[in-house]
Every structure is written in C-alpha cells, then in structure tokens.
C-alpha cells in the first residue's frame, strides 16, 4: 500500500534542530528507507511564509499570501512510501526525527 507521510512541526523548532545537527538522524532514516526500497518520493519544503494559496470563487481566481491554515505548526516536508501495511508505515513515520518535536500524519493513498 502507498502512504503519504505529512511531516509537520513548529517551523522555528525545526530550523533550530537542523542547525543543532538533527540532520544526522535524518540521513540515517532516509538511507534505511532507500535500502529497503520503500521510498517513492521524498521532499522537504521551503518554510510556510513562501506559501501561496489559491481559491476560485464564482469563477474568480483568488490568490493569498501564506498557507491555507495559519498556525505555528506547518508542513515542512512529505514522503511517499510503498509498504506492506499501516504498521510498517507507522514504524517508518516513527523513525523520522521530526516526530521527536513535531508529528507525522499518515494518509493512505487512494489506489
């Protein structure tokens, strides 16, 4: 099954953690997934102030600055994994360093 992992946390906290060397554990996580062949895609995102939100209402394109939900906690990256079941997806998610200070939402991908 395919799962999208939405990785989110307080953005400042994420930056500080990365600056403080949090990237090491991240690299371990990533290379383990690559070795297991479960990773279909993985990307980190620019912080939420770079977000642009688009809505179309009554035929008019409305563009606003910022993410669609304001808040301290923002999505900072995503991973698409292909694994056996939810238990394996949970195990993969739990290995992501952001779960120590933020969280990972697991969403099954429609087949």
């Amino acid at each position: 099954m395919q799962y999208l992992l939405l990785i989110s946390s307080e953005e400042e906290l994420a930056e500080r953690t990365i600056d403080a060397g949090g990237l090491d554990t991240f690299t371990t996580w990533l290379s383990d997934l690559e070795r297991r062949g479960v990773l279909r895609a993985h990307r980190g995102l620019h912080p939420s102030p770079t977000a642009t939100t688009v809505r179309v209402r009554d035929g008019e394109v409305l563009v606003t600055d910022g993410p669609f939900i304001e808040g301290k906690e923002q999505i900072g990256g995503f991973a698409l994994v292909d694994c056996a079941d939810l238990d394996e997806a949970i195990e993969i998610a739990a290995g992501h360093p952001a779960t120590r200070f933020g969280q990972v939402e697991i969403r099954p991908v429609r087949q």
Partner: protein, 424 residues
Amino acid sequence: MSDHSAAVGAVRDVEQVLTESFRNDWGRVVAALIGMTRDWDLAEECAQDAFATALSGWRRDGVPDRPLGWLLTTARNRAIDRIRRERVGVAKLRELAAVTAPEPEVDLDALASGVADDRLRLLFTCCHPALAFEAQVTLALRTLCGLTNAEIARAFLVGEQTMAKRLVRTKQKIAATGIPYRVPPAHLLPERTTAVLGVIYLLFNEGYAASAGPDLIRHELCEQAVRLAALVAERMPEDAEAAGLHALLLLLNARFAARVDAAGALVPLEEQDRSRWNAAMIDAGMTELRRALGRERTGPYQLQGLIAACHATAARAEDTDWARIVALYDELLALVPSSTVRLNRAVAVAMASGPRAGLDLLDDLAATGEVADHPLLPAVRADLLRRLDRPAEAAAAYRLAIERTANRAERAYLTLRLAECVDT
C-alpha cells in the same frame, strides 16, 4: 413423556444449544471468515446467515456432532456463494479458492483449531492504536461478542444511528488504511497487548458498574469481558498481566449474584452474602492468579487481582486483611497514580485504621485536588462520616452523591443510607 412434549423439549434443546453456541462461537465464525475473505461486512452477514440456517436446519435434522464446524462450513460456503453471485470479486474468489480448495473433504478439527488464533487476530485488529478507543470497544463487541448495534448503543448511551455510523467508519478506516489482520510481531506485542487488556478491562467495568441506566450490572458485558480475557490469557500464556486480568475479572465476576438485593439496590462488599459468591469461579480465579504471579513482573492487573483475592478468600467481611490490602494499594499507586486508586486506597485505610484516618486522608487528597472531582468522592465521604456518627454531615454528603450518580441501583443504596442518617 408424550411425543408432543418430547418434540417441544427437542426444540428447546436446539434453541439452548444455539444460544450457547452463539455466545461461544459467534466471534470464532466472524474471525475465521474475516481471515478468509478480509471483508468485515461479508463475514458478519455470512455468520448471521449460518446461525439463522442452523436454527431451522438443526430443528429438522438435530444438532450436529460438531456445531462449530457446521457453522464454520456453512458460513464459509455462504461467503463463496455470495462472492460468486455478486460477480464483483473474481480475484477474491480465486484467493478464497486457493485457501480452501485443496482438500475435497474439509477437516473440521483443523479448521476449528486454527480459529482460536483468528479470534486473537481479530481482537488485536479491533484494538489497533490507529482506531479511537470507543471504536475499538465497539468493534470488539460487534465482531467478537456478537452484540447488536442497539445493545452496544445502549451500553454506551448513544443513539443506534450514531453507533451504526461509528461501526461503518471504523471498518472503512481499517480497510482504507491497511490495518493488518494479525497478532502483532514480538517487538510490538507488549504495547499492543496493553491496549487489548485495557479494552477488556473497561468493557468489564462498564458492565460491572454501569455508568447509567436501570441496572447496576450489565452482566452480559461482564461475561463477554471475562471470555475475551480468558482468550488472551490462554493464547498468550507467557503474558503475566493477561493472566492477571483474567484472574481479576473472574474474582470480581464471582460476586455477581450477591451485589444487588431483591429490590435492585447495590449491596456493599461488607454486607454481601458470601455464600452466594460463585465458589467455582473464585477457584478458577485463584488458580489463574497463582499462574500469573509465577511470572516475574507484577503489574496493575495482578495487583488488583491480589486485592480481589483478599476479599474472595475472607470467609466473613470482618476476616478481611485490610492491612495487606492497603499495602497492595501502595504498590498499585506507584504504578498507576490515578484518582480512583487513591480513593480506593483511602477506603482501605479507613477499614484498616478506622474511619477517622480514612477521612483525614480523603481531606488531604481533596485539598491537593488529587481526587477532587472524582464521581465517587461524595459517596465515600458520606460512608466515612456515617461511621464516625456524624449523621448531619453524612446526610449532606449522601444527597450530593445521589445527585452525582445516574445508576439506579447505586442511587437506591445511597437513598437507603440517607434515610438511616436522617432517622437517627
């Protein structure tokens, strides 16, 4: 006996066997069918069909030698028919054929012996942490215990519609998110087993002291919880807490007949007629408890089992070893620092060292906010004040306690006590 009454007797026998079989085997049949088809709705429907067919078939042909085997085969054949007829599951049918085709004669013993594991698989799947707690309990009651939506709705004081929706959503989540149908692997087992035991424990509690409604005890829920605890303890003999929970529930359930008087009012532990306790169930509980304690770890269920054993083995209420019970609560409090444990410990202290000591402890706990809003606090305080011969204060506390409980049997008991305080 005339032919007519013999026939009536036989019909009654069939119904009795079937009722028994429903209680024992419903979960087994559903679990086996989910195992084969991975389709929860189909599994339940085919199990229902099998039991319905049994009612007419067994009346006509007599009860088969192996009722469970008969039910399993019937349900499985129904599933194959359904899948074939609906023509939606060609691939599914192929899978099913692969599972069941090789033997022309189905080995019913083998089928039945594999089924215990299916039930455990089903229980762990129902209690998966990705499901909300209410959803876990609901699904377990529906699929493993065969309670109807209406029964489950009543047990949890929600509408039947709400309950039906919750079940649909839960099954959808299991299918859509790929929650595996299995007993988790060793490294996940400890935490997952804790969740399973927690569901069973709360299920029992809801039956033992129903949070609202006409009956203090919903005995059906207690029975189902004991069954599930027995299943887990039997299938996971190395898990001391599983055995501990099974022992605890047996020891508590043994008091069932003595807990409510003829008028439906709660009878407190020290006033219960102990000859009405179920001696066989106590023996079974004590045996299970010894088995649990043979293991190294002493967990919360084993400790509560030990406390229940102190009561179960005291011939009269005044023989109860309250000092030991206080010591056991101390141990329990170190593991589970909850307000309920604190409150129960205060009651034990009152019994061991007198109501004054209990009341002082209660005041301390209430002052620090540790039991301040516990629903049972006023009732416990009222009992201690009554024993200290302070009827006016006791009456006020009983009134507050009556206000706080929605359980009719508990209310009846508290009202009796209030009357005593007002009379004196």
